[in-house]
């Protein structure tokens, strides 16, 4: 068995012009060039994309699930950030 593991890459694909890239999955490849070629075969067999990003998984920093509370709670008491917080009288019309 080969111990020469190909690194893991995360693949992001832009579905259509004007959209942002979205994470679609991961794959193994020896280098970035092959990661993009493999991503073409694995993730765009039905014209699902117009652009591919490949990033080595080990290069991604992620928040940890335990942060769920503390990381986001500053937003909890700021409902006024949403436009629906404010009542605009009907007479004023669309705003």
């Amino acid at each position: 068995m080969s111990t020469n593991d190909w690194p893991l890459w995360e693949i992001f694909i832009r579905g259509a012009h004007g959209l942002s890239h979205r994470h679609v999955g991961s794959l193994h490849a020896p280098d970035a060039e092959m990661a993009i070629k493999n991503a073409r075969d694995v993730y765009t067999r039905r014209k699902e994309g117009v652009s591919i990003w490949a990033i080595e998984s080990s290069a991604i920093a992620a928040s940890s699930p335990e942060d769920k509370g503390s990381l986001y709670d500053p937003a909890d008491d700021k409902v006024y950030r949403h436009p629906t917080f404010f009542d605009i009288p009907d007479e004023v019309g669309a705003m």
Binding site: M1, W6, S26, P30, D31, M34, D41, R45, R46, P65
Partner: protein, 330 residues
């Protein structure tokens, strides 16, 4: 089902009151329909069970390329050949989506491959049967992919996020597979007497093994309860098998083929067909490694892995060399 008889490590399903706080919180999230993601805490049993199930499923996609690959060079028309090639390529893709889901649980790709190649991990019993005629390509697409869809559609709602997302992609593509199979069957069933005979013969051989794909009857399926509590299995084996029969029989009637089961009869009361159980002795024998094509399948996988070693190593060496040159240039 592509993952039959997944052995669980648990000792029966615990009630919420019997669980430690962490496990209880986990189970409550699952009960509430939350998705579990790779970095979330999960019980060891959940992780192990999922690796086995997703791994078995991935291996089935990969080994499942072989019975159909057998006919690529002998497809009756160029169009059929191109379609079959695309279908087999999809199966490789499905295997990769699933391996990538299994890897998020900490099983490496090489470990999983190794366990398939040395027989420690299984794949679906269905791929141990031979594909003897072109009509078998029709029967496999129609019945085998049909049975797989029956199992995979509910798995899109499974509790583990990466597995559920892989299933969404797979289900989108799988419906092409079943339709292309039915299309082959329609052509053969409307063809000459010899072609009709081939279609019926393929149907006869694949009916029983397709019913086995859902795994043993519920009363003999000891690992189901825990998997259902964890929502990594969404329906019972018998429930899905019944659904498959009810869906397939009218399709067979449309084709003018006879279901190879003399006990098949519509049961008004249950709103479904009564049918004979497949040969379970044969099923367990195939799982033990005695399927008609088991040796050939394993040899083919091992040969592909061994013959490809120089390519894998060569590409890695090339990547290392390029990297070193880049570093030197900087």
């Amino acid at each position: 089902m592509y993952a039959q008889m997944v052995k669980s490590t648990g000792t029966g399903v615990k009630s919420l009151d019997e669980m430690e706080p962490q496990e209880r919180a986990f189970q409550e999230r699952i009960n509430a329909g939350d998705k579990i993601e790779p970095k979330d805490w999960m019980p060891e049993g959940y992780r192990k069970n999922l690796i086995r199930q997703i791994g078995q499923h991935a291996h089935s996609e990969i080994v499942g390329q072989l019975p159909e690959g057998n006919w690529i060079t002998r497809a009756p028309t160029l169009e059929r050949k191109a379609i079959l090639l695309a279908k087999v390529q999809d199966e490789a893709g499905h295997g990769l989506y699933l391996y990538c889901a299994a890897e998020t649980l900490g099983a490496t790709r090489d470990e999983l491959t190794e366990m398939l190649l040395d027989g420690r991990m299984k794949y679906s019993s269905i791929f141990n049967y031979p594909t003897l005629t072109w009509a078998d390509m029709g029967a496999v697409g129609w019945l085998v992919d049909g049975a797989a869809i029956m199992n995979q559609v509910p798995l899109q709602r499974t509790s583990y996020g990466p597995y559920a997302r892989a299933m969404v992609r797979i289900c989108k593509e799988e419906s092409f597979h079943q339709r292309q199979g039915f299309d082959i069957m329609m052509t053969m069933a409307k063809g000459t007497d010899a072609q009709k005979h081939m279609a019926q013969d393929a149907f006869n051989r694949f009916w029983g093994p397709s019913l086995m794909m859902f795994g043993p009857s519920d009363e003999n399926s000891v690992h189901s309860a825990q998997s259902m509590a964890w929502k990594i299995k969404m329906n019972s084996n018998d429930e899905l098998r019944q659904k498959f029969v009810d869906q397939t029989v009218p399709q067979a009637e449309y084709l003018g083929l006879t279901v190879p089961d003399e006990n098949l009869k519509w049961n008004e009361e249950k709103g479904g067909y009564n049918f004979s159980q497949p040969d379970w002795d044969e099923f367990f024998d195939v799982l033990r490694g005695n399927g008609p094509e088991t040796t050939e399948r394993m040899e083919a996988r091992n040969k592909a892995w061994d013959d490809g070693a120089w390519v894998r190593d060569g590409m890695m060496a090339h990547a290392a060399k390029k990297k070193a040159m880049k570093v030197a240039a900087e």
